[in-house]
């Protein structure tokens, strides 16, 4: 931990980190007021990739907005699908077949693993190790191949439908996923060694960017960031949706809330997601994969909220319907946005190198913030 030192006013200068910087993972700009290599005041500037997704929803039919949801978080897109279809189902009162719910859980968890794998590599890339990202991409590729079979796309999925999913899963998919589970488990020991056996990595992560539970509550940080600080908040457990209550899994928690804790929380979540997928595959019921949904979907007047747990934390859709065929207003609450808002308080007095670590450990996806 670098000791905070007396900072003299006249030595300060400004440094623009981004929007074109390798470690901001997209078009995020952080204006840094610096004193030497110490950060006095970081100020994130957002909006470089703004696509007015919420406004776009007001011009489209209910299912017409579905492809957009997959484009907000390109690293783990399926929970975004999930939240949106579940929101409409809740407001319209559509029944979803059990098989469809299982498929949703399986694919959502696969998406979460894909996202965590990309984060794992990207964090190490931020720390200056280039090789791990190619290993994790290799693992991620197995998921993408499997999902491509059933969804037809590799990145911006639009697989869930109101009342179910658009295509049933087949035996090829199931055997692929089972093979992937086996493969990833065998890789864990290698990744574990990277954590425990590498002093440079530990020294870069331990005690860096400490977020305590109170800070998480003040800024609304959720997901692995909050869980790394010891807050057992996971929507899959706290406000269970879909068929999550039927599975046996744990919520990994950290103690100190530093970058290493957030790292370990995500790392253990990979194992938990694998457990969920395994159980879901074992229990997968027969039946239809798409429920009965009227051709022209008309929602009743009213408003509705639905939250799901994405790879980065709590995603909430809030919808106001005036009874017509398009939303009156759609508000999306994205996890990265509130996770990022921790940054200024987190990084005061930090070294520039530690800012990179801290940002990497928050697992930001900028297009999701600039939706």
């Amino acid at each position: 931990m670098p000791e905070t030192k007396n900072i003299q006013q006249e030595h300060r200068f400004f440094l623009n980190m981004g929007p074109q910087h390798p470690s901001t993972h997209g078009v995020l700009r952080v204006i840094l007021e610096m004193d030497g290599e110490y950060i006095v005041e970081p100020e994130p500037v957002l909006g470089y990739g703004h696509r007015m997704q919420e406004k776009m929803a007001e011009g489209r039919s209910w299912p017409g907005f579905l492809p957009n949801t997959g484009r907000m978080d390109y690293a783990g897109a399926l929970p975004y699908n999930h939240g949106y279809v579940a929101l409409i189902e809740r407001l319209a009162g559509v029944e979803v077949p059990l098989r469809a719910e299982y498929i949703r859980v399986i694919t959502s968890e696969l998406s979460r693993i894909a996202s965590h794998l990309i984060w794992f590599g990207a964090l190490l890339l931020d720390l200056g190790a280039f090789t791990p990202i190619l290993y994790t991409f290799d693992d991620r590729e197995q998921i993408l191949d499997a999902l491509e079979d059933i969804t037809g796309s590799r990145l911006t999925y639009c697989y869930f439908r109101v009342g179910g999913v658009c295509k049933d899963i087949d035996d090829t998919f199931i055997s692929r996923v089972r093979a992937f589970i086996k493969r990833l488990r065998s890789r864990f020991s290698m990744y574990e060694k990277l954590v425990n056996g590498n002093i440079i990595f530990l020294k870069r992560m331990e005690g860096i960017g400490i977020i305590d539970a109170d800070m998480c509550r003040r800024y609304g940080a959720t997901g692995p960031v909050a869980r790394g600080s010891g807050i057992p908040y996971d929507i899959r457990k706290c406000e269970p949706y879909s068929v999550y209550p039927e599975f046996d899994f744990e919520i990994p928690l950290g103690d100190h809330g530093d970058a290493l804790d957030r790292f370990l929380v995500r790392f253990r979540e990979l194992e938990q997601s694998l457990r969920i997928i395994e159980q879901a595959l074992d229990k997968l019921p027969d039946g239809p994969y798409l429920g009965k949904v009227p051709k022209k979907l008309k929602l009743p007047t009213g408003d509705c909220n639905f939250s799901v747990e994405t790879a980065r934390g709590a995603l909430a859709y809030y919808l106001v319907s005036d009874g017509s065929e398009v939303p009156y207003r759609l508000k999306i609450r994205v996890p990265s946005y509130s996770n990022l808002s921790v940054l200024p308080e987190l990084c005061r007095g930090m070294l520039l190198s530690d800012l990179v670590t801290a940002m990497g450990s928050l697992d930001l996806v900028i297009p999701e913030i600039d939706r």
């Binding site: 200056g128 190790a129 290799d138 530690d354 990179v356």
Partner: protein
Amino acid sequence: METAGNPIVLRMVIAVVLVIAFVFLNAMVMGYLERKISARIQRRPGLYEVGPYGILQLLIDGLKLIGKQLLIPMEADRFLFRLAPLLSFVPVVLPLMVIPFSPKLQARDFDIGLVFILAISSLNVMAILMAGWGSNNKYSLFGAMRSVAQNISYEIPMLLSLLAVILMTNTFSMQGIVAAQNKIWFFLVQPVAFLIYIIAAFAETNRAPFDLPEAESELTAGYHTEYSGMGFSLFMLAEYANMFVVCSIATTLFFGGWHGIPLPFGEYSSAIWFFIKAYGLMIFMVWVRWTYPRTRFDQLMNFCWKYLIPFALVNLLVTAVLVKLL
């Protein structure tokens, strides 16, 4: 270069031309090796499009770099900005003059060969500082500042570890040091000195995990952020030549220089042994680079001042006592 009868000036001119040619060749070979080895480590094919196994890729890359526009940032110090890549080239070419590739293949054997190398190679910092300062870019300046602090700090343990060997050989002449190892290589006698030297060498050449002057995740590209085309490639050439220099010193001082089992190439076999050893060390450096994450700057400095220098001093003291006693 066995032109002992010719005037010394001619001999030196030939040596300089050969050495510069070697620097370019070395950069090509190392560029290829680095990319192939990293590809191997990362389970990807690497370069394979241009020529068999992609061996012509580096040639094409060179052409591309020459063809690129040389951009100079606004309000940069144009003189320093242009001079820096050239200056980075000098301190890596000159040390090659005194490196003994074989008993005869050496441009000049000074009595103070090692001191000459260490003195000249310190100039490298100057080029980086000029590049960083002249670029009018804060990231470049950060890189330059880090480089100065890092290089100057790591010179000390490097020198101390080499001194331990000098105490044993009683000479600064590179040929003399090699000759002293005809029975046993010094990395067996001086393992601590070798370890300290190789760590310091990583820092001196700005290679990962100590590549802080060009830490791409923090400083975009550090001191050479603003360089394009040949300016950039001269820095890369210098980096690889620098690697070769430190590995050659390690070979000469710790791995018995050109000593080795005679090969069926007569006099050349000793040069082959030298290159095998030096390139082996360079491949080791490449391997480390693609394996480890980067240290933080304050950790790097702490490591030097709190661990390397004390250990190097103790090692030097022990060596001095033992040399006196035995």
